[in-house]
């Protein structure tokens, strides 16, 4: 948007595409507004704009727009409180001699968008939480254009292929705020649709997301959705195999079981000789391995290949292989530097809801930090066109 368009919006005190905030002190209200603009219930099909540093009546609040303030606003996208990821730009602008931060929020392709498990919407001057009826309208706005893989429908699947009990018991409570859950008088099908596990009615097919997160047997539909774990008694693929498992099932089962397998395979040596207190030293830090394996499950390609995520555990190292190369704006130069993109944005949302992701974009830095703390060499990444290999070396 150019300055002229922004300036016109800034002066338009009636528009429901605009919010003004005198400062950035009320983070929650700002996030609610972003969430409401992303939902675009009135169906403007145009971005909503937040002006930070402007009073309600449109006058200048003379707020100093520092780099810290802009950084703090930009981090809203990756902190994972607003899901699925909002598309937003944060800029510093000077309009009519007034310095301000401008947040431009694009309408989401896949509403309803939620902040802290609640769907915020804007109707005229009022911001509120969507009623069931409004949520249904949001579902129907979901665009069927070039959807990411995880929202595409499986025409051959039906609601019977989903584990409804597990979905109700575990996923719903993780994705929605308790008070929203409490008044949720919707049918199970409506709930599945509003969480993007099924396409909007009338067709109502399970989406890839639904199959992966809550499917009874996801591999029927997505053959590569499993983790192959092999432990070798040696340093290469020809060494004798000590243990081998194919870890499969729905996302919830897969990640939980993987955590247990990692935990069981880490050996912790206890050193009682060098100091008066015993020091426990695992050969690998569990947090780093969890981050790297979860990363592979989240970012891998499920369409181009039927290969599993591979975790090969050798005597001197662990190799984690993730099918599919780099995606979107991530390239070899900026990989692991905080630039992120999502091949499967809604799967990422589900992992955040279930608590497997704390915030987005910190998986690799966290893994490196934990490796360093534990005394392991840093993880090495070998990036190919069709797969990414992570190598973690054992503590010496």
């Amino acid at each position: 948007m150019d300055d002229q368009a922004l300036s016109a919006l800034l002066r338009d005190l009636e528009s429901d595409r605009v919010e003004r905030k005198a400062s950035n002190s009320d983070g929650k209200k700002i996030r609610q507004a972003i969430c409401a603009f992303a939902n675009d219930l009135p169906n403007h099909k145009q971005p909503g704009v937040l002006f930070i540093g402007v009073n309600d009546d449109g006058t200048c609040a003379n707020l100093r727009i520092t780099d810290d303030l802009l950084l703090n606003l930009s981090s809203i996208r990756s902190e994972g409180k607003i899901l699925p990821f909002p598309v937003l730009q944060v800029n510093k602008r000077v309009i009519d001699d007034c310095e301000m931060a401008v947040i431009i929020v694009e309408p989401s392709d896949a509403p309803p968008v939620r902040f802290d498990g609640r769907t915020y919407i804007r109707v005229g001057p009022r911001r509120a939480i969507a009623t069931p009826e409004e949520e249904r309208r949001l579902n129907e706005k979901r665009r069927a254009r070039d959807l990411p893989f995880d929202l595409r429908p499986f025409v051959s699947a039906t609601i019977k292929d989903l584990n409804l009990e597990g979905f109700q018991r575990e996923y719903l409570a993780s994705a929605l705020a308790p008070d929203v859950l409490e008044e949720n008088q919707r049918s199970i099908e409506q709930k599945l649709i509003s969480l993007r596990f099924m396409t909007p009615e009338p067709s109502a097919y399970p989406t890839s997301l639904g199959i992966l997160v809550a499917g009874k047997d996801p591999r029927q539909f997505v053959p590569g959705f499993y983790i192959q774990f092999v432990r070798f008694d040696g340093v290469d693929l020809t060494a004798p195999i000590r243990d081998q498992k194919d870890i499969s099932g729905s996302l919830m089962d897969l990640l939980r079981y993987m955590d247990e397998v990692l935990q069981a395979n880490i050996s912790t040596a206890t050193d009682i000789k060098t100091q008066s207190v015993e020091i426990q030293q695992p050969d690998y830090p569990i947090t780093a391995l969890q981050q790297l394996v979860r990363n592979a499950v989240m970012h891998r390609s499920y369409e181009e290949t039927h290969a599993p995520v591979r975790v090969y555990w050798f005597q001197d190292r662990i190799e984690i292989q993730s099918p599919g190369g780099l995606f979107g704006q991530v390239n070899r130069r900026n990989f692991g530097q905080g630039v992120t993109d999502y091949r499967n944005p809604h799967l990422a949302e589900a992992m955040k809801n279930l608590g497997y992701v704390q915030r987005f974009g910190i998986g690799i830095p966290t893994a490196q930090k934990e490796l360093k703390k534990n005394g392991n060499p840093p993880a090495e990444f070998i990036i190919e066109d069709s797969y990414i290999l992570v190598m973690v070396r054992r503590k010496q």
């Binding site: 009320d26 409004e134 018991r169 939980r256 279930l354 608590g355």
Partner: protein, 337 residues
């Protein structure tokens, strides 16, 4: 209208007080308030609930580190100046912690000896005794808090006296046993004595520019926590203590002239009976989250999910009750009917 300061206090330790403050702080944050949690317990348990060891090491070990509660009062203790400005730890956007410090116990003697000096109208005595309140006021203003919760150690010492005269309200966490009941019997009279002694001192303040706390410390009720219940005693005994709490609370803490036995379930001073959440508490501590934020990845699966929801509602109800009594409005998100 500055944010109300609520102290959580019981002179009997181990009742689960710190965990109560921790959970309420998160709950008020979830409900949309700006929260300041202050750790005035020299054991600093609230601080260690919020911060992991790495962060604690940074904060406590580096001499040029953060201004913990002790570092704020240190200039006053050394006699080289007044309070330093508090640096708050931002736990989340709108949830701030005034970091506790084990060295705070070094302030105890000074607070103890300055208390009588207030009667002689010595300015320094008033500066020392009002230090906590002035510190909390600064921190509350700088963090734009809507509500301030303070965690205190379980004793009737000078630190707690100074902390309590800073409080507008007091909530008493209890465990249903003989110890808590006995504790109530000296907690009540002590609170009352401190309040009276402080009121007697206020007019003797020689410095007109030195603001002092009013020292209201109004008791607003008690919370019965089951965490501390020992299961090697019969349940019946536990029930017996629960039934006796209301009368002791009313006669020794609130001083209502009332000979009637109060029916526990109708006692308006009972803010909540918080159940023992068995395995959820260690799970929450391991994940550094309040129980109601636990996710399947933290191990809250199957039957735990429903339990986590129940904890949310328990704490939400308690938070709302306390908010009403201290006159804080909880923002509600408008819904269409």
């Amino acid at each position: 209208m500055s944010a109300p300061i609520i102290a959580f206090f019981n002179n009997k330790g181990g009742v689960g007080k710190t965990s109560l403050v921790y959970h309420l702080a998160w709950m008020y944050f979830d409900l949309g308030l700006r929260v300041l949690a202050a750790d005035l317990d020299p054991q600093a348990n609230l601080t260690s609930a919020f911060l992991d060891e790495d962060r604690l090491e940074q904060v406590w070990e580096e001499e040029q580190g953060f201004n913990t509660v002790f570092r704020c009062v240190r200039p006053l203790l050394r006699g080289i100046g007044d309070l330093a400005n508090p640096e708050l730890e931002s736990i989340d956007d709108g949830l701030n912690l005034l970091i506790g410090d084990l060295q705070l116990s070094g302030f105890e003697d000074e607070l103890s000896s300055q208390w009588p000096d207030c009667l002689d109208g010595k300015e320094r005595a008033f500066r020392v005794i009002s230090a906590f309140w002035r510190l909390l006021s600064k921190a509350s203003a700088s963090s734009k808090a809507d509500i301030v919760l303070i965690d205190l150690g379980p004793n009737l010492g000078a630190i707690n006296r100074a902390a309590l005269i800073s409080a507008d309200y007091v909530v008493v966490p209890l465990s249903p046993d003989l110890f808590s009941l006995q504790g109530l019997k000296n907690l009540g009279p002590t609170l009352r004595r401190w309040r009276e002694e402080w009121k007697e001192r206020i007019p003797k303040n020689p410095a007109p520019d030195l603001m002092l706390p009013a020292g209201n410390m109004q008791p607003i009720g008690y919370v019965i926590l089951q965490h501390g219940v020992r299961f090697d005693r019969p349940v019946k005994a536990f029930q017996r203590w629960v039934e006796r709490i209301p009368n002791v609370y009313h006669s020794d803490v609130v001083y209502t002239e009332n000979d009637n036995v109060i029916d526990l379930s109708k006692d308006s001073s009972r803010l909540a009976l918080i159940k023992h959440y068995q395995s959820l508490m260690p799970m929450a501590q391991a994940s550094r989250k309040p129980i109601f934020h636990l996710k399947p990845a933290d191990g809250a699966i199957g039957a735990h999910v429903a339990a986590v929801q129940n904890v949310y509602w328990d704490f939400r109800e308690l938070a709302q009750k306390i908010a009403i009594r201290v006159g804080v409005d909880i923002p509600s998100t408008e819904r269409q009917k």
